[in-house]
Subunit: 97 residues, 2 copies
């Protein structure tokens, strides 16, 4: 198995509507990407200063499937249209499970 | 269920031995923390520029168990003695699963 993890931190000036739009796009992609693997989206519970705002953990069969996942036009569109416009910081790791 | 995710990025000047020491301490804590939940440690596969170096995903029964996990002296020691000395950046989110 192969795992992709990314923590998103939104810009301080992003609006609640923009943030909800990004989460909605990620949720939709989570539905669309079932052909590749299982995506779990979490919104930070606010327990610690300096935390990110949301995290995606995606479990896939292998590294090759991750490459197809990452290149999928629906994935690229969700990032381009909804996530990147309000993205302050992105912390990611991909690893063998 | 409650999830804790943290992406670690090591300082550029940290040595391979220090990095392996941090991973070993996290692996040991992964064994010790079974009383709280399940910890998965992953080392970045090097697929993308700007990625973190390692990620920990911990799944726990609830938020209260996470608080006990976080306060455990063995956890604090692993961070203090092995992780923080070589830590460039830390991106974390905790959320309901």
């Amino acid at each position: 198995m192969f795992r992709h993890v990314v923590v998103f931190t939104w810009t301080s000036e992003s609006t609640p509507e923009q943030r909800e739009g990004a989460l909605a796009a990620l949720r939709q992609w989570g539905e669309d990407c079932r052909e590749y693997g299982t995506l779990t989206l979490g919104v930070d519970a606010g327990l610690a200063e300096g935390n990110g705002n949301a995290v995606v953990v995606v479990d896939l069969p292998d590294r090759e499937t991750y490459a197809a996942y990452a290149a999928d036009e629906r994935h690229l569109a969700a990032l381009r249209d909804h996530v990147r416009p309000i993205l302050e910081r992105r912390c990611a790791v991909q690893h063998e499970l």
